[in-house]
């Protein structure tokens, strides 16, 4: 992984607003959130279902467009091919072409990322080994289980050795061993200077990986603080305690 300059702002979100539907059926998913992610950070993005996490990540990748606000990634407007070239993305739910073999799929994504055939020849077996799919490059994806597909998803996100990883629902579909392996892999990448920004409902996972946590609720930013500060707030118990306390306070305030 190539390291970015220290403390460079990689993701810059300002007053972001976005919604779904039209007219009367319009639902405002994001109501003016702002945050930054700097190089070398590992930031957890948490919130209840429907809080706006996936919408935010989709906007960062250029899959959706904001109604208002400004979003830049690596200094470019979100979704520009130049910024996407430096990102490894794992979607919340993704199926991969069932008619392809694992090696072919990684060659496709690597090729689109600008890697040559000779580079991919060495890289593909290595990356499959890293995610626990060693020797599976010639197997058709239609024979892959959900967990194997998720592992392959992680492999495709790492194939171009990106500087920034954006993961939507980090360990969805993985068994406990898979989650453990993934945590180890991400910790290694962190040590190498890779920036990681991910959403997850697994708060233990967020706690074990992140330096900072961003919490959103119903399209609003609730908290953006270092993990230790949040743990101190709830008496050094756990992120789960903080999360539940914060959501209860929000519910009371809304009554």
């Amino acid at each position: 992984m190539s390291k970015s300059l220290p403390s460079t702002v990689l993701i810059d979100v300002k007053d972001l607003e976005a919604g779904y539907g039209k007219g009367k059926h319009r639902t405002q998913a994001l109501k003016g959130i702002s945050f930054q992610v700097r190089s070398g950070e590992c930031v957890g993005f948490i919130g209840a279902n429907g809080a706006g996490k996936s919408t935010t990540l989709k906007i960062l990748m250029g899959f959706r467009f904001p109604d208002a606000g400004e979003v830049t990634v690596f200094g470019c407007p979100a979704g520009e091919p130049e910024s996407r070239a430096r990102i490894g993305y794992l979607p919340e739910v993704a199926l991969y072409y069932p008619f392809m073999k694992a090696g072919e799929l990684l060659a496709l994504y690597g090729g689109l990322g600008g890697l040559s055939k000779s580079e991919l020849k060495d890289l593909i077996p290595d990356i499959l080994k890293k995610v626990g799919l060693a020797g599976k490059e010639n197997e058709l994806l239609k024979s892959f289980s959900k967990g194997m597909q998720q592992r392959l998803g992680i492999a495709q996100s790492l194939i171009t050795e990106p500087e920034l990883l954006i993961y939507d629902e980090l360990s969805s579909g993985l068994d406990p061993l898979g989650r453990h392996d993934l945590r180890e892999l991400l910790n290694d990448l962190k040590k190498q200077g890779c920036t990681i920004f991910f959403s997850s409902h697994e708060l233990g996972e967020v706690e074990s990986l992140c330096d900072r946590v961003i919490m959103i609720h119903q399209g609003h930013l609730l908290r953006d603080a270092p993990l230790n500060d949040l743990l101190e707030e709830c008496g050094d118990r756990s992120l789960e305690t903080f999360y539940i306390q914060t959501l209860r306070q929000e519910a009371k305030a809304g009554e």
């Binding site: 989709k58 899959f63 993305y89 979607p91 993704a94 199926l95 072409y97 090729g111 600008g114």
Partner: protein
């Protein structure tokens, strides 16, 4: 524009078509049908040759058209449904490159399918020891290839305007009833008011006249027809490229700001 990215997307379309084996099923059916036709013994030899050519060329044209319509209409909706578009568009790939790759992939796949049919057809011709006027036959092949490009571009635009089923139905209707509709328009035109005449003219120019690309009749009766002039082929090429460009531009316009 990165040509290698366009090629990679196009190759994925081709790989899917080849691995799903739909094409082979159609070619197998073609082989069986051609074999049945060749075994018919109630024709004189010359009659059988013509019947075989007529049947085979019509069948190949229709089967390829259906293949290209189905392939093109399902490309984009399937990517959205299965969410395979996310990891793909997470790469440094522009929406223009993605669409162009898909369109070229469908076009080349249909040409591959058509080439398989041609091999079967030519074996049949060899078996029957039938003569073939190569000039007009090559023109038939070229115009069919252009028509497939139009159908592919049409399938894409329709799949974004409506759903897969409606896109397939509409494009098929245009292919199957195109010549009948054109004859009807000709008949109605002479009896119409000036306002209706304008509507008919606009309709005629808005919809591709696919029957113009069908030289199968002339290929069958090539003993009485000579190859069509190069100027007509050139005009038809421009006509096809214009429709492909317009349909592709509309697809790009619809897809450019589409939320995935």
């Amino acid at each position: 524009m990165k040509v290698s990215s366009i090629f990679l997307v196009a190759r994925t379309v081709w790989l899917e078509a080849v691995r799903r084996r739909d094409i082979y099923a159609i070619v197998m059916i073609a082989c069986l049908l051609f074999a049945v036709v060749m075994s018919l013994d109630f024709f004189q030899l010359e009659g059988l040759n013509k019947f075989y050519r007529e049947f085979a060329l019509k069948f190949m044209s229709t089967a390829t058209a259906i293949t290209v319509i189905v392939l093109s209409a399902r490309q984009l909706p399937r990517e959205f449904e299965t969410r395979t578009i996310y990891p793909l568009m997470a790469r440094p790939l522009s929406r223009f490159e993605f669409l162009l790759g898909k369109l070229l992939g469908v076009w080349f796949t249909s040409l591959f399918c058509f080439a398989l049919f041609m091999v079967v057809f030519l074996f049949g011709m060899l078996y029957l020891r039938a003569d073939l006027q190569w000039g007009i036959f090559l023109q038939y092949l070229y115009l069919q290839a252009l028509m497939m490009g139009i159908l592919a571009a049409l399938g894409f635009v329709l799949s974004l305007l409506c759903n897969i089923d409606a896109a397939i139905a509409f494009a098929s209707l245009l292919f199957f009833l195109g010549s009948t509709m054109a004859s009807m328009v000709n008949m109605i035109y002479t009896l119409s008011t000036p306002a209706i005449k304008w509507i008919l003219i606009v309709l005629t120019w808005l919809t591709p006249q696919l029957f113009l690309f069908d030289l199968s009749e002339k290929t069958v009766h090539s003993d009485i027809w000579s190859p069509i002039p190069a100027s007509v082929i050139g005009s038809l090429s421009l006509y096809a490229l214009l429709f492909i460009s317009v349909y592709f531009s509309i697809t790009l316009l619809l897809f450019r700001r589409k939320a995935l």
